[in-house]
Symmetry: D2
Subunit: 149 residues, 4 copies
Amino acid sequence: MKVLPQQPQTFRTSIPVRFADCDPAGIVFYPRYFEMFNSVVEDWCAQALGMSFRDMHLQHGIGLPTVHLETDFIAPSELGDVLQAELTVEKIGGASMSIVIRLLGAGNDERVRAKLVLAMMDLRARCAIALPPELRASAALFCIAEPDN
Amino acid sequence: MKVLPQQPQTFRTSIPVRFADCDPAGIVFYPRYFEMFNSVVEDWCAQALGMSFRDMHLQHGIGLPTVHLETDFIAPSELGDVLQAELTVEKIGGASMSIVIRLLGAGNDERVRAKLVLAMMDLRARCAIALPPELRASAALFCIAEPDN
Amino acid sequence: MKVLPQQPQTFRTSIPVRFADCDPAGIVFYPRYFEMFNSVVEDWCAQALGMSFRDMHLQHGIGLPTVHLETDFIAPSELGDVLQAELTVEKIGGASMSIVIRLLGAGNDERVRAKLVLAMMDLRARCAIALPPELRASAALFCIAEPDN
Amino acid sequence: MKVLPQQPQTFRTSIPVRFADCDPAGIVFYPRYFEMFNSVVEDWCAQALGMSFRDMHLQHGIGLPTVHLETDFIAPSELGDVLQAELTVEKIGGASMSIVIRLLGAGNDERVRAKLVLAMMDLRARCAIALPPELRASAALFCIAEPDN
């Protein structure tokens, strides 16, 4: 059965730019954006998909590592900025999904845009496994395209 | 003139333990606690002392580096824990202050206790300077002892 | 005048996987790979291009931020692994260059492959500027294609 | 049996200050010093004590977390500095040891001095256990005082 929302949802959260995030040029050091992305994915899983990273790792022995990403760093962000993060789902496969994360400044100006492919993994066997059905169904509400079957 | 509150205030904030904070043992990697401390100090300065790190660094050319610290790591914290941070001031000098930060678990159990000495610095000259009077007065509201004069 | 090597060079360095790099699954947390990439670029600039990040930032007021990247995380790396990094240049433009970084395991197995676009920036004006000619000439020795003119 | 060297050894390693280590003031962000300390301890365990963190965690199910530390940040370190780290042992107990780490600049000037208490832990049971005898004996070679018995 397909789960196809009429209007895909966007997951939103805000992220302060901390002193710890900034480099000698006074702007966010780009590896720190990936920590921000990871925290957005964590919040999305816990708050919108009903399965926290803690549950995945400690209870189910599964994880959701990033296996591919593409990122454009469009404009720098400074210490004290509060970034708005927006997450949508581009595509859901059997064992993975493609998501898009955008970070915006106070004036809705785009700072960073990224596409990430997240794969569901069995942590012990270190192999890909199918996305849990409930998580898949919840993620589909954020998806702009029809999921694969 | 002395600023001496009857009952010193405690600055409180909450800090989620992120995947990025945890090590292969599944608990917070201790250097990450210091990033948490720094974010507590940032929030305290911006919200309670009326001078953000951004203002200090970009407008005033000053900073508030940690010059000494002592820390007890009492019990480990796990992925998904939400820590309660409590900050009080132990002593205020002319160019520095001693603060105490405690991180507590959900059951008010102590996880980490730290004493930090923060010094006010001129960033260009790289020398200690007097605490700005307004910041000093605001910090004194969190102080358990009478400030030096 | 064109600088076109017959056989492009590869810049190589080795990177130990530290405890600090690893997540609760016992493998490298992917944002840490970007810190590794940045250190490879730092070493390449200092050792092969004749201009360290310190020189760029402190003497010349310029920087070399990453403005775009694509990364495939092919296989996980564990605590204690020593990764071999290989850097080559794919294309050199007027104000930017595309580089490829590969991280390999002990058996020459590919772990991570990334393409990064680095742009030369004036740090004060925050705008793109031309690559310094000496740096450009040195970088061309690592380039598989003829530089633009 | 006591292991008591006439002249205690010092473990030495060098640590470059990376772009990733530096803050908007252009100097090392203090939490990064603790990552440096951790890498010094990792190298000491692997190279001098005969038991790497990988062996501890993956083979033996033990770890060596820091349970207490005191640190003086004496002078700032800049991007591009190469710090010399020196590690000695101050005291060895049954399940823990106190070590001293100093970071020096190029002119042997002291930048950071820290005392850390490391405890041997069973990672599953999360309780303190006795230091393995071989590791204890090797550590004693770096100790300025006679170990407890």
